[in-house]
């Protein structure tokens, strides 16, 4: 397994620094988490994006000045019932995007719950961004920009309204996260051991228990 690590590196790397970060997407079902990831990673939008069961995994690399930032993205299932799987994914994550749908007030409430949970349970210096998705549907807006912005400021979150459909602010929010992440060597090594961060570290099933 170790001999293949080099494949992970984007080609042409070598001059600059390479950092790997684990990022998790959280939020109510159908707010557009998978769509945001798909837009960011493949530049596509599927109107019939399949729902996510358990979680999906994708990677994407962005360049920031002389640093190459590689995101390992865990896109989780939004249905409340899958909640108990979430810790397995956000544990050890350096960044999180909490997504809501600007046309649905309930999803904003759910986003706040996620932020609280991250603040309590995730690693203390996790970078959290709040994304108000489906900004293209401004005429059906139920969550005011200002309301979300105020909330984000109070909780020191990055905040943008995004649209996976039109691509508005999608790259930007990932870039903003990349900028905010510490890029000293030791901070990023956490996820250098590929995948290992995810394993429930001890054999007794902790809160990582599945589908509780």
């Amino acid at each position: 397994m170790a001999q293949r690590t080099s494949v992970q590196r984007p080609s042409g790397g070598g001059q600059g620094k390479i950092c790997q970060f684990k990022l998790v997407l959280l939020g109510e079902s159908a707010v557009g988490k998978s769509s945001l990831v798909l837009r960011f990673v493949k530049g596509q939008f599927h109107e019939y994006q399949e729902s996510t069961i358990g979680a999906a995994f994708l990677t994407q690399t962005v360049c920031l000045d002389d640093t190459t930032v590689k995101f390992e993205i865990w896109d989780t299932a939004g249905q409340e019932r899958y909640h108990s799987l979430a810790p397995m994914y956000y544990r050890g994550a350096q960044a999180a995007i909490v997504v809501y749908d600007i046309t649905n007030q309930d999803t904003f409430g759910r986003a706040k719950t996620w932020v609280k949970e991250l603040q309590r349970q995730a690693s203390p210096n996790i970078v959290i961004a709040l994304a108000g998705n489906k900004a293209d549907l401004a005429n059906k807006r139920m969550v005011e920009y200002e309301e979300a912005q105020t909330y984000a400021e109070e909780n020191s979150l990055l905040f943008m309204e995004t649209s996976a459909k039109t691509a508005m602010n999608v790259n930007d929010i990932f870039l903003a996260i990349a900028k905010k992440l510490p890029k000293s060597d030791n901070s990023a090594t956490g996820s250098q051991r590929e995948g290992m961060t995810l394993r429930p570290s001890d054999p007794t099933p902790g809160p990582a228990g599945c589908c509780k």
């Binding site: 079902s29 019939y48 358990g54 995994f57 108990s84 059906k140 054999p203």
Partner: protein, 904 residues
Amino acid sequence: MYPASPRLGRAHLGASTFFASAHPSESCGSNGLPLTPNSIRIYGQARALQLINHPHLCSYVDIHRGKHERIMVIQEYYLLNLRVAAQKYPEMRSPQGLARLAHQVVQGLVYLNNFGTVACTLSPENILIDPRGQAKLYNYGLYYMTEAGTSVSFPLGTVQYTAPEVLLMQAGSQEGGGGVTGATVTGNPVWDVWSLGMVLAEILLGCTFFSGCKDMEELVGEVLSLALSPNPLQHLAQSHNACHSLEGLPGELKDFVSLCLTVGPSERPVPRSLLSHRLLQPFILSASLVPVHPHFPVVDPSLCLIDFAHFKAKFSMMENSGPTLTDYPLHAETEASLEFPKDSTKPRLKRDQLSERSMREVYHLWQLAGGNVEQELKKQKLIKIKPSILTLPSVMVVEGEVFGGDISHSQQLEATTIVLPLHTLRSRLAHIPPEKYYPLITQGESGTDELETSQLPLVIRERDVEYQLHRLLSFQRLLQAYPHKGDSILKEARKDTPPFYRALVWAALLNVDGAVAHTYQQIDKETPTPTDRQIEVDIPRCHQYDELLSSPQGHAKFTRVLKAWVVSHPHLVYWQGLDSLCAPFLYLNFNNEALAYSCLSRFIEKYLHKFFLRDNSAIIQEYLAKFSHMIAFHDPHLFNHLDNIGFIPELYAIPWFLTMYTHVFPLQKIFLLWDTLLLGEASLPLCVGVALLRQLKDRLLQFGFNECILLFSDMPDIDMERVVRESVQVFCSTPRSVTFRQHERPRPDPSQASPAHNAAQAGQQDLVMDGVSLPELKREKCPRVCGADLLELLAHKRSHSGRAKVLVVDVRSPEEFARGTLADAINMPADTSLGPDGTLLMGPQMEVLSSYRGKIIAVIGSRNGWDQVVKFAEAILVQEFPRVCTLHKGVEVFRASGALMVPS
């Protein structure tokens, strides 16, 4: 499929085509997503028309979508229509003939109203006359499938025969659209009554109405002017110089037609009340006027004599049918090959077996024999191929809207129907002896066994017309006998499942029985529940590449079936993924929600017992742990790699099992997989998982964690037939107790007794598998096997090579070993065979062990020394010994069985 469509008889399969209206490009619904194309709306809506089965309504056989919103419809068809027939046959236009015609058309209309719609297309061209002089309404489903004309841009009916109020409504609707404003698919039954009046009046008066009109506007004006007349029939007679024809007509006939031509829609009678008109009194109903909903178990309505009305109808049909029309138009191609005797009143010498098959079956076989409607329509110039340069738009604005280019096609309904030529199919099947069409199911042979095709791969069998014909014949018989013939269905389905009958075969394999329709009907599928939001957001994301499931009808049915399941399983809940699980059943039973629901419920009971509990953690964890054991058991090489990189099933396999692969594969692959899955036990899906991993083994072995997980985030192309084959092999080479799960559904049928079960009966409780705590399961890498299974494996001993299928390795100390162990066990004491780091050391027995590589290796030890057993098993697993398992509860389980002996 079902309900069985009427037999082909002397009908043709007719194909016609039209365009759905296209949405302006880039237009979006309120959710910001593209609108459902109208052709998909129509496609989903039209499905229900296949349920219509009445002697005076041409059957809808199938419908397809083509490019650019094209719809192609295949219907029962006859070469003679009323306009021609009335000219050609004096008996058709005689008062008696017209009364009979009226009676038949009205019956068709009443049935249609009972079905919940209207025709709106009645005209002499859309009333076909079969060779026995029976009227058959044609194209009557347009109004229904286009949702009152809203999804096409042409008017549905022929203006001359359209009721004035309909013309007014069409004029009121937005320009371009063919829709009737404010109308629902139910429509108003009296519209058709007007049309019938016009059709009859025209024949009575012996003229063609309004033939002098120069344009559409004038024509519409003429029809509307009728509405101003106190007596439209008189008015028509006068304006067409045909008053003389009215005289001397029987009073009832004149009265009937005048009644049909009542101007005010609210005073005009509906078809049902016309049935009691004096004119129609002499006639008996041809068939029941109430649509029959599909049954499962299949009740063939034609065999059902309890329904007296139906019984009567069967008889009257024969009395009424009268002699065959002489000189009936023949379709050149078909008839030539058919060798019809010229005088067709004489009994035919050679029965045409194909005409005894149902139309849908014939069409299915026609396609298998290479038939393709689109090609056929092109050949016969109904689809005109334009050089694409001519269809290019001339202007395109930045917003994406286009102007120019030839898109005029969608403005009209092409009235022509082409006949699908059946000669290729007939000649492909010509050599099959007639008796083969009536297989005897009691003989327990299927008629396909002697065919060479039965040895060929599934893809070939599925496309071989002759093979499929035989399969259809035997499955039809078996399904009619279900539940009685359940075992034979299982036996036949082990060979393969004919796609044509898949829906019913699956239902039979799932043991669906009882009051399916009634049960479903009783369930409240409407009242809002907290789960609704989740269902509502999941359905538009579930297998939406499929045109049926993405249609509005599909969504509505999806919602009802899922809600029905949720409310009727109060101890279970909706987990995302249930939608995917429902998809194959809904797709197959699109016209029978009740059966889709029953199949879904039965499937979950059998394969996903407790998976949909609110707290399913223990169940899923156990399942995944067993899966991990199965990987280790069957492919230690792969297991060790995945284990090393931390690629655990929790991270990728939850959607596999929770949805039984329906969230992972497209429908066509799921069908292939489930055809086999449904034959097997609840543990088969674990074997499928192993087969899947093994198919991707080469890649997985090279990949690190990230690449592995990426591979499964977007499932690569899989050779499903191979997966299916290998999963059966995996299943057969796995002792049953290896896949034992504490949470699996108790096996209901004690007659399928396993050795373990027998042991339990005999009170040897220790020999059978029982629950193991989750932490233990997860800690152990190799599966446990129960004492009974091990004894059975040992009994199977000495196959051809004289070698046992299993090697028993006793890891206790030599002293304990010497006091008694299983026959032929070898002793490799864990204390001395394992190094301090748990690795396997070379020892005297290594050679024996190695010689058994590939066989089952059962590690046994004492109950107290369990850790040693586990360690030893892992040590040989690391050495990539396949099929390593440990004896559940230790050697002690054999004490009472007398299986222990002093080693020689």
